[in-house]
């Protein structure tokens, strides 16, 4: 065949790129276990230390479980976010991703879903641990709990993925990531804490939980749309 005769689509469709990036990230993580183990170990240690400090004679401070759960997830998530992009920096594979003829926001979505999957996996271990150590009654309304946990995680990861990608080439990225991330995700974490605490109340207030859930969904939509809008510019040049 002569050069130039092989026609093919000029770019890979959005969702196929998302799946390709996500599958690659999950495969790499399954092989190394690096992010999953460090995230889980760090978060579980955090929860245990708080449990030993705050639970006296089998009684936990009221509403404390939700705050400790989300503090642990926030800190562990920061660790995971930094590491996920550090991996792309080490062999400069991020440049290879950016050189591919794919919509760049699709790379963002693929990375975001990978981080969310890892954090949700860590939360699947953390939630029973917090429930047990703080006798928090978190699982009384499992569907509401799943909604709060997933939306809060997406909110945290959506901003975190954008900032981690933005900072990947900066020298002090480990220090800068929490400095930039925390002020912006504080409202998300507060909504997550309040929503989780409302679930653990003896008298279940569905309207209150729905309010926090809707707030989290709103944050997610705003953050994901802004990140999709800015990712191309952030990663260019």
């Amino acid at each position: 065949m002569t050069p130039g005769t092989a026609a093919r689509p000029p770019a890979t469709p959005f969702w196929r790129t998302v799946w390709t990036v996500l599958r690659k990230d999950l495969t790499v993580e399954m092989r190394s276990g690096e992010i999953a183990y460090t995230t889980l170990f760090f978060a579980a240690s955090c929860v245990l230390i708080f449990a030993f400090a705050l639970v006296k004679e089998g009684k936990a401070p009221e509403g404390g479980a939700a705050g400790i759960l989300w503090i642990a997830i926030l800190f562990a998530g920061t660790l995971a976010l930094g590491r996920a992009f550090e991996r792309e920096r080490q062999a400069e594979t991020l440049r290879a991703l950016l050189l591919a003829p794919v919509p760049r926001p699709a790379i963002y979505v693929g990375k975001l879903l990978g981080i969310v999957a890892l954090l949700v996996a860590a939360e699947a271990v953390l939630l029973p641990l917090v429930d047990f150590l703080f006798t928090a009654r978190l699982f009384v309304h499992p569907f509401w709990l799943a909604g709060i946990v997933v939306t809060c995680t997406v909110g945290l990861a959506s901003v975190g993925t954008l900032f981690a990608a933005m900072l990947v080439r900066t020298r002090s990225r480990d220090m800068l990531l929490p400095v930039l991330l925390y002020p912006i995700v504080v409202p998300v974490i507060i909504a997550g804490v309040q929503g989780t605490a409302a679930l653990a109340q003896p008298a279940f207030d569905e309207a209150l939980v729905r309010f926090w859930l809707l707030l989290l969904v709103t944050f997610d939509i705003v953050f994901v749309v802004l990140a999709l809008w800015t990712f191309e510019a952030v990663m260019s040049d």
């Binding site: 065949m1 002569t2 050069p3 130039g4 005769t5 092989a6 026609a7 093919r8 689509p9 000029p10 770019a11 890979t12 196929r16 790129t17 390709t20 690659k24 495969t27 790499v28 092989r31 190394s32 062999a91 400069e92 594979t93 440049r95 290879a96 991703l97 950016l98 050189l99 591919a100 003829p101 794919v102 919509p103 260019s236 040049d237």
Partner: protein, 249 residues
């Protein structure tokens, strides 16, 4: 070389690239200053110069990863718009190899084939492994490979979508004589197949028997440009010590 490994795809194609008065600054530091040259298909252009001369910056601009501060790069008469279609015609083999060490050679090649919308990515990866001489070790993680083997996988990764323009940054670093010779042979095949190759290198002995054109960069400026260069080492020493005359290819 097989047809499959030599043909660029048609969606956006070009037969030459021209760099016109390109400058690039990083803050106050000027990495490139008014560099111009042209390279056509079936040609290997070498970019030679000491560390910090601007070679990698120039390759970054050609790869569309960096934008010039001034001047422009044209791909077959079309100015760079940074679009996906243009990126699909460019292959880059960097000093870092752009491979995931945890993945096998086959998984790496398939991943990049999928990103480049290559039809039948698994088949393309098999063919690429055969060309790299790694058919038997395709299912081993790249982290277990020697530098030379990783370099071969990385070259096939850069070529998996049959790019028209191939950019290579220090491709001979860390290779033994046999691997360097194999790479030279592969680059000649690509030249024969109609690719445009731009090679930034320090290895003047290997470059001596490979290049059709040499562009000497010094302090971000084009110090000289020589067609069909011979005895590159003495030319290099001469060019790097004399005043810059702003040569053009």
């Amino acid at each position: 070389m097989s047809d499959a490994s030599s043909r660029p795809s048609a969606a956006l194609d070009f037969t030459d690239i021209s760099v016109e008065d390109v400058s690039r600054s990083f803050g106050r530091r000027r990495a490139l200053s008014r560099v111009s040259f042209r390279a056509a298909q079936g040609e290997i252009l070498g970019i030679l110069g000491p560390n910090g001369a601007g070679k990698s910056t120039l390759l970054g601009i050609l790869a569309t990863l960096l934008r010039p501060t001034a001047g422009r790069v044209c791909y077959g008469g079309m100015a760079d718009t940074g679009g996906a279609a243009l990126r699909g015609r460019i292959g880059v083999l960097g000093h870092d190899l752009f491979l995931y060490p945890e993945l096998t050679a086959r998984e790496n090649l398939e991943f990049f084939a999928r990103l480049h919308a290559v039809p039948e990515p698994a088949h393309a990866a098999d063919e690429a492994l055969e060309r790299a001489g790694l058919g038997a070790r395709g299912d081993e993680p790249v982290s277990t490979f020697s530098r030379g083997m990783r370099q071969r996988v990385a070259l096939e990764r850069a070529l998996i979508h049959q790019p028209r323009l191939l950019l290579l940054d220090e491709p001979f670093t860390g290779l033994d004589d046999a691997s360097a010779s194999a790479l030279v042979a592969r680059l000649r095949e690509l030249r024969q197949g109609g690719a445009i190759l731009v090679v930034a290198t320090h290895d003047l002995e290997v470059a001596d028997r490979l290049l059709d054109h040499a562009l000497f960069l010094r302090e971000g400026r084009a110090a000289a440009s020589i067609a069909q260069p011979k005895h590159l080492r003495s030319t290099y020493q001469d060019v790097m010590t004399r005043p810059i005359d702003g040569a053009r290819a």
